[in-house]
Symmetry: C2
Subunit: 198 residues, 2 copies
């Protein structure tokens, strides 16, 4: 994909500043909302003028793109960490997978908007930033197959079900538990339907 990473003081300084910009962008997004993020806010937070950001990112959407990739990469790391600890029982494993995703999504409204909703007008993730999202989905598909859910339609249904619970929770009861409470029931419903053992 990318060539050999160049390691020297210049590129390291540059990467450090890029991270600084992204950290500031996340902070602004969480405080004011993802769509209310402005380059002037991000820049001023790290003592820069807005146009200076263009030395590190090609556009505002490039910043969103990097945030998108970062969020999915972080979640992929979380999946890596939790996958070995999943219960052996298929139903329990299914619930744990769904809960991990649900909690991650609900924990940060701005992040979830970026990752899972198409809420930023004109923003489409680049192939590079989309890669970890695809990888997460592929891991999920493979894992559910190992649990006995092999039909692609059933996996699509699983995705829609968990996503619907997340969206309902965020949209209709932010900060509450109204749909979070229903996640295990929903997983039992799904497990019954696909014929997982009780």
């Amino acid at each position: 994909m990318l060539g050999q990473p160049i390691r020297n003081r210049q590129t390291e300084r540059r990467e450090a500043t890029r991270r600084e910009v992204l950290d500031a962008a996340w902070a602004v997004a969480r405080e004011k909302g993802l769509a209310q993020l402005t380059l002037r806010d991000v820049a001023s937070r790290i003592g820069m003028q807005a146009p200076s950001l263009y030395s590190y990112f090609d556009s505002k959407n490039a910043i969103y793109d990097a945030m998108f990739g970062q969020a999915w990469t972080d979640y992929l790391a979380l999946v890596d960490k939790t996958e070995p600890t999943l219960p052996r029982d298929p139903r329990a494993a299914l619930k744990a997978i769904a809960r991990t995703f649900f909690d991650y999504a609900v924990a940060d409204l701005a992040r979830n908007q970026l990752m899972n909703l198409r809420t930023i007008p004109g923003f489409e993730p680049s192939a590079e930033s989309y890669a970890p999202a695809v990888e997460v989905l592929e891991r999920g598909r493979a894992h559910l197959a190992r649990l006995g859910v092999e039909d692609p339609d059933e996996f699509d249904l699983f995705v829609a079900l968990v996503g619907g619970l997340v969206d309902s929770q965020q949209a209709n009861d932010p900060g509450g538990q109204r749909w979070a409470r229903l996640l295990d029931q929903a997983m039992d419903m799904f497990a019954d339907y696909v014929g997982l053992p009780k």
Copy 2:
């Protein structure tokens, strides 16, 4: 709520122009996207200057608000029309209700974004525009109760399930059938879980 409606040539002319503005707004939203709607675009489409719109709406968000109310009122009318034609069989009725909502949501991307997603930064529907949405939900709750689904948790699950299918369809396969195909299966899964007769 509102006082006696005043009927005279002036207010009728005014209402007609308000409708003209809204029609133009819908057209722009469908062509360029909901968030890309600009007052200048809306105005020029009906031969006005942008500031003239303020004679009819207090702000851009007031236009969104009127569109929101209009969309839910239209859907409520559709529910009114289709409710008497629903099958007697609970499962078939459940599928028909879900299908009506799904098709309406998927038919118009911009409209669905406005009705069901929180995609416009800073827009919150007014109580007046929200009323038909509440009424639709209440109708659904009552109807499902008549079918035998009386637990509020189960209704919340139903809402999340149908909503998740809509969102997955729009986000991951716009214009396609990948999740639309799964709607009946999903309803069977739900019906099994809540114990509707086969």
